[in-house]
């Protein structure tokens, strides 16, 4: 049978991530702690294992050969367990720790490209003053200063006049909802509020880059989620570039545009949350993501059964519209697709089925609770699994996934949903044989 022509567009759509030059670029950053770190570097280059080196030389390798880059305006999360070197790595970026080797570049359009690792103290201070600020795990607020005075600390160091910096301070405090607390002391605030002050202090300097070292780890779970939402909201408004450290995978998935996973000082995988969830590169990452909640991360286009002749039969063609039927499908639903690749109509036992967009379906859902069996919903490929599941509770028919221009990408029915939830992958994507066990694979295919 002739290959369907739509599949090409699906695969092109997947690779639109890389845009623009990186704002921060780290190349092979290594940080060794000990009396003579440079003496250990050659051993590392010769490929000796970190454990051996640590045992024999009493040096500790904090970060080993870490490379990554941040695109302007994104939240880049470095995730790892405690001791994996993530806090060391973030401190290498603004040189609170001197990297033992490797280079870090900052490419701020207003200042041109600078090699952070080659700056002298004076220039480094300038970078810290104007281009990078930081938020700390334990807040590190100055207890002898009021909330406002904490927030404007960076502006004070920049040499801004009192009136100007206080105006700016109040503006940022409003943004984090604490303006009425401006004249209190940090000790009078709760943990969550203190970290809002920490965030405000980081935002106040107008630095393009915000380094956040486990900023929400010390907070209660509920407050933590609140803060994450707030951060994303503020980020939508201000579009800073954020390097965010966490040991919490759900947090990483919730706020990160890209995630780097660290293990024992090394970055083992970098990718979008979905890539990491669907396609864990090592056993370690796989273990990590095993208990992650996929419903907010995995997108419809990943789990959709692609429109290929492997999965679909062409039943007939009428007026230039091809009618497709799912192979082995129980119900005789036919999907009519025009020569643009768009969904023209859907027929079930020669009846027409109503087709609704996801937005319309949501509106209808708000009004009635009855589950429909005569309506089919289409959604964008970028919708997350949660949205798709909600549609499934609204209608018993499959969900059609389209790309941004409305062309059909694939279809999601029960088997796809089950695979997505249980194995965090699509029928075709992420079939990493070494990680997926045989039993799981069996479950996946036995459902169809």
């Amino acid at each position: 049978m002739r290959m369907l022509r739509f599949e090409v567009s699906f695969f092109n759509g997947a690779a639109n991530d890389q845009g623009g030059p990186a704002l921060i670029r780290a190349e092979a950053v290594t940080k060794i702690f000990g009396p003579n770190p440079h003496s250990v570097l050659p051993l590392l280059e010769q490929g000796q294992s970190k454990d051996d080196i640590q045992r024999e030389t009493s040096h500790i390798i904090g970060v080993c050969n870490a490379s990554f880059s941040l695109e302007p305006g994104e939240i880049f999360v470095i995730m790892g367990l405690s001791g994996s070197g993530k806090s060391t790595l973030i401190r290498c970026v603004n040189r609170l720790f001197e990297p033992t080797s490797g280079k870090i570049f900052l490419n701020d359009p207003d200042h041109g490209e600078q090699e952070i690792t080659a700056l002298d103290q004076e220039a480094l201070r300038k970078v810290r003053k104007y281009q990078m600020s930081m938020v700390f795990q334990h807040f590190a607020l100055f207890p002898h200063r009021t909330v406002l005075s904490n927030v404007v600390y960076g502006l004070e160091i920049q040499g801004k006049h009192k009136a100007e910096r206080e105006e700016e301070g109040h503006r940022v405090l409003k943004m984090v909802g604490l303006d009425s607390w401006a004249n209190t002391y940090p000790s009078e605030l709760s943990g969550g509020m203190q970290q809002r002050v920490g965030l405000a202090r980081g935002l106040a300097t107008q630095a393009k880059v915000l380094l956040m070292d486990e900023p929400f780890s010390a907070l209660d779970p509920l407050i933590k989620v609140n803060m994450q939402q707030e951060l994303v909201k503020i980020q939508d408004e201000l579009a800073r570039t954020i390097l965010f450290i966490t040991h919490d995978l759900d947090e990483a998935m919730r706020i990160g545009n890209h995630i780097a996973i660290m293990e024992a000082g090394e970055i083992v995988q970098i990718g979008t949350p979905e890539e990491i969830l669907v396609n864990p590169r090592t056993e370690y990452v796989a273990n990590f993501v095993e208990h992650a909640d996929p419903t907010g991360v995995i997108t419809a286009k990943t789990i959709a059964l692609p429109l290929r002749d492997k999965y679909f039969d062409k039943t007939h063609e009428r007026n230039g519209i091809q009618y497709l039927h799912r192979k082995g499908g129980e119900r005789s639903i036919e999907y009519g697709i025009d020569d643009q690749g768009k969904l023209e109509n859907v027929r079930w036992d020669d009846r027409n089925v109503t087709v609704q967009s996801l937005e319309d379906a949501y509106k209808a859902m708000a009004e009635e609770s009855e589950r429909r069996d005569d309506t089919l919903v289409t959604c964008r490929g970028t919708c997350v699994l949660r949205d798709v599941l909600r549609c499934r509770s609204y209608t018993s028919l499959p969900i059609i996934v389209t790309d941004d221009s409305g062309r059909v990408v694939g279809l999601i029915d029960e088997p796809e949903l089950i695979t997505a939830i249980l194995e965090k992958r699509g029928i075709e994507s992420g079939s990493n044989e070494s990680v997926t066990t045989e039993r799981e694979a069996h479950v996946a295919h036995g459902n169809d």
Binding site: L96, V127, S133, H138, F142, P143, H144, E156, I157, S187
Partner: protein, 300 residues
């Protein structure tokens, strides 16, 4: 063989006859040398500033009428500590006045104020330096130990030889004796400032001076004030001893009383010193607790 045994027996019986370290002669020589070399220098360049500061303070304090002085003490104590401390201070100082040693108290207060001012001027920078350089602190620590543990009588002698007798040599001895706590506690206080706060200051591009003045110093203030408080107490005890070499004030009352076996006079001086010490202690402690760094409730 027998000779060897005899020698051994002799050594065991009197081991210290083996070696004679003539420290007495050395110190005498060293001090004589220092005196002959530097006496002129010390008298020309160290005495005058100390003397003029002391005399200015004494002039200022003694020209205030006692009632105004008491009122001022009450206000200072009230602002820095509480109205209770204020009331206590007024009663204590009034008692001193009623015992007839008001002028001596004023002189003692001037001596102490001068000693403390010089202790802070010299001690604070040394303390800051010690907090930044482990090497410097390693060097200065034994010197501080010597300054603090040498019995105060011992350095009265070189003080007299260098500066003669009177208030100034007494003051110099007092400054040397009283300064170590300022250095030690300044060093300790700055080192104890939470490292994450210093890190935060660094991350925002602060210079070392800004870190010191905006973060470390304000947070170290309560501990530094404790050092100043100790310095005041030590100075007070030293000022009594300094009466031996001619320093005046309440110490002289005690010393004179002892010399003449005038128990009453000695006790009046002693009670005056105790009352003054309590007043100064309460006020400076209050200052330490209400200072800018006193908001040190950890933000965790």
């Amino acid at each position: 063989m027998n000779e060897l045994m005899d020698l051994l027996r002799g050594v065991l019986a009197a081991p210290f006859d083996l070696l004679d370290i003539p420290v007495r002669a050395w110190i005498t020589d060293i001090v004589n040398w220092i005196v002959s070399m530097f006496r002129g220098f010390f008298r020309a360049y160290i005495s005058p500033p100390v003397r003029s500061v002391m005399e200015t303070i004494q002039w200022a304090l003694s020209s205030i009428p006692p009632t105004v002085f008491l009122l001022a003490v009450f206000l200072v104590a009230w602002r820095s500590a509480s109205w209770k401390v204020g009331l206590f201070s007024v009663i204590a100082l009034a008692l001193i006045g009623f015992m007839g040693v008001w002028d001596q108290m004023i002189l003692t207060l001037s001596l102490i104020t001068t000693a403390v001012i010089f202790s802070i001027i010299i001690g604070l920078p040394l303390g800051i330096l010690s907090s930044r350089s482990d090497l410097f602190y390693t060097i200065i620590r034994p010197i501080l130990d010597i300054m603090q543990t040498t019995p105060p009588f011992v350095y009265l002698v070189p003080a007299v030889m260098l500066f003669g007798i009177g208030n100034v040599p007494g003051l110099i001895a007092t400054i040397i004796f009283g300064m170590p706590p300022v250095i030690r506690l300044t060093n300790l206080a700055i080192r104890q400032v939470q490292p994450d706060l210093v890190e935060a200051a660094v991350a925002f591009g602060s210079t070392r001076r800004e870190i010191l003045t905006k973060v470390q110093f304000p947070l170290a203030m309560p501990t530094i004030m404790a050092g100043v408080n100790q310095t005041i107490m030590l100075s007070l005890s030293m000022v009594v001893i300094a009466a031996i070499i001619g320093a005046g004030g309440l110490g002289l009352e005690v010393y004179a009383g002892l010399e003449r076996l005038n128990i009453g006079q000695a006790f009046v001086g002693g009670i005056g010193i105790v009352l003054l010490a309590m007043v100064l202690d309460r006020i400076t402690q209050g200052l330490g607790q209400k200072g800018p760094g006193a908001k040190e409730k950890r933000s965790k």
